[in-house]
Symmetry: C2
Subunit: 456 residues, 2 copies
Amino acid sequence: MTQHKSKGNKLVVIGGDAAGMSAASKVRRENPEREIIVFEKSSYTSYSACGIPYFISNTIPDINELIVRSPEEFREKYDINVHIQHEVIQVNTKEKKIKVKDIEGNKEFWESYDQLLIATGAKAYCPDVKGYNADGIFGVSNLRSGVKVEKFIEEEKPKKAVIIGGGYIGLEMAEALLIRGLEVTIINKSPQLMNTLDPDMGEKISEAMKGLGITVYCGEALNYFKTKDNKVIAVVSENRTIKTDMVILGMGALPNTGFLKGSGIDLGVKNAIKVNAQMQTNIEDVYAAGDCSETLDLTSKRPTHIALGTVANKTGLVAGSNLAGEKSVFPGVVGTAVCKLCSYEVARTGLREKDIESLGIEYVTGTIDSKTRAHYYPGAKDITVKLLAEKNSGRLLGGQIVGMEGAAKRIDVIATALTHNLTLQNIIDLDLSYAPPFSPVWDPVQTAARHLIKSI
Amino acid sequence: MTQHKSKGNKLVVIGGDAAGMSAASKVRRENPEREIIVFEKSSYTSYSACGIPYFISNTIPDINELIVRSPEEFREKYDINVHIQHEVIQVNTKEKKIKVKDIEGNKEFWESYDQLLIATGAKAYCPDVKGYNADGIFGVSNLRSGVKVEKFIEEEKPKKAVIIGGGYIGLEMAEALLIRGLEVTIINKSPQLMNTLDPDMGEKISEAMKGLGITVYCGEALNYFKTKDNKVIAVVSENRTIKTDMVILGMGALPNTGFLKGSGIDLGVKNAIKVNAQMQTNIEDVYAAGDCSETLDLTSKRPTHIALGTVANKTGLVAGSNLAGEKSVFPGVVGTAVCKLCSYEVARTGLREKDIESLGIEYVTGTIDSKTRAHYYPGAKDITVKLLAEKNSGRLLGGQIVGMEGAAKRIDVIATALTHNLTLQNIIDLDLSYAPPFSPVWDPVQTAARHLIKSI
């Protein structure tokens, strides 16, 4: 409950989603009297962007269910001065002020700050190719874009969709559009879907997606979009032209940091904001958190950019804690992610083979097939676990899971093991839970470790 | 692949289930030429005793599905000389020989060994009260007893069952008999069901069981059994007489070590065989593994007795490895266990409040309610997580989970954290997986850690 005394007291937060509002709420809890102003470009605060594919698929009928707290709630219950429809377009760190554009009022003004938190998130990446600005091309990185996609489907009744990029968002959107009855094609630059996994595991996902009736073209990049009356009508790749009524961009996320040009704030990987473990930028009194900032990969010890809700919430909380005068650190990530695709589950953590190779570490890999429950228990589903470990030491370097119901959450044990530098033997020795409805007597993660330890 | 050279080569294993056959198989893999003899009292080898309740409930229709490998398979494919229906009744460690009773042939003989592994498992505990030997009273600690229960239900068509003891086996059998249409009553000595959890978490299970239509009498001990024509007809507790057609014993497991009297082999907790981390007893060339042996509790640093398939498989493998001349250790357990009861899931690991108190450690506890998925995602179920941690340091000491589908396996992260001495802050910092179908953005385990860290 230490008040931040050494500095002026006005906190300005740019961005009103997970990281920004986690931080603002934390500061309010610790500093009940402090002035807190939030500028948010859209009309929404504190929502679950990860829920958008499930809104599009109508699994979640009402988009308001994705909103954790509204701007009104923050204003009234938390005394946080949230301005929606306000975009910050410039930061002057020397004079400690920011230039704000009131979108509805169509005016601009300068706002001063004593401490600043940048939490502007990331947007769907699209290369600057012919037609990229046409109607019918959508990113789904925020709630506004989710609403746009839903509106487009309702009003334009598209029959075909092309998804560019076979990562989490691309695949979740493929599922969503399939559920909505569209004919779905994915084009993907790398040779297999889910480039965050090794190609051998990605191949399983490519096969699974084809089995669901999705057309998958891997190993071919986007060339440009064909348009008519500024509407997208086809995607042209290196090898083919695919007619379509709409396009979803799933080529990754780019930090929203363009407005920081000239601010003196250092950018790093993918132009994400460089921060230390306290979420401080190189400029005093300027912090950053969430999808617009870099984070440390604990396994490679290299900076990385991870646009995920878990990291945004955690880094937001740590930034808020430090802004409130406490001392908190965010140690970093191991890159854990999980994804459901119809009846398939995919999970990954740590380094891929190519990451390990780039670090020059000698390694071994092993993959096993097992079941999610005792083989004789009804509902036992397939699970494939791949582990990657350092040669000789057996130190775990990464893990990947593809399977069906009950498979993916097992990645958490691997993530915990990775974070604390456990070896394959340590994993074998873990006292993991077992009963026939939950697992074989050797959990598949341990079976994978038992298999791989023979190779080290 | 080191052959065991310094000793004579004949390995005798007493007990042909998980621990014994894991060890024998491991020795066979490493020492292809070695003589291996197994004596097993029943007619079965290498089966899943944990699957018995699901056989009784007809969830698994064929008991053979519970058998991993038959005696014939071991003889023919593994060249392991398995003798079923052979009970070992005496061990002479001075002369390195054992006395074996051939049950079918009704004769006894002595067998010599160079190395001996004792893996005789455990049996259902029953106090020596009036009527305890009557027909209709069953333990379910091995496959033979499972077959007996099934036969009894088919032939005698019992309408009422009383289960004595509200631990895992008691509750799983309550579910099974409920599914078979019996009227089920549980009597339990401690004030709440599931004494391996703290009473506040056990209370949730008592409530859940009552909700399923099971009659639960807690806080009352068994006095004796009423019998007629040597059949059980009622259970008499301190407070009441409960008429019944059958009784299931769920009062815990006792190591099968009575035949070791006079052998010089040291026994410990509950008369389980004392072993070191290599699974060696105090007598040279005599090893023990599985439910008949002690193990080390890593959190309390005290010996304990855990009769679970996971531990039996692991200690069997370690014993086998050492018997084969390798060097392996079994570091110990944190006491992880999990259980499904109709739609409820229960899991626990580490120390309970009373365990911590007995160690004189200052501690804090905290319990949170959360959901198994994002709150808006269909199928999000209730989950309650309790964590126990050391005061000041925040070092994790234990965890307990009660919830519905998707709740229980989260105990594995807590078990991993416990094993490696992680703190609540370490848990908060973990990069656990998140997507709406799998978890809230803060996994319930982390939410529990965030809640509890305020108290340390």
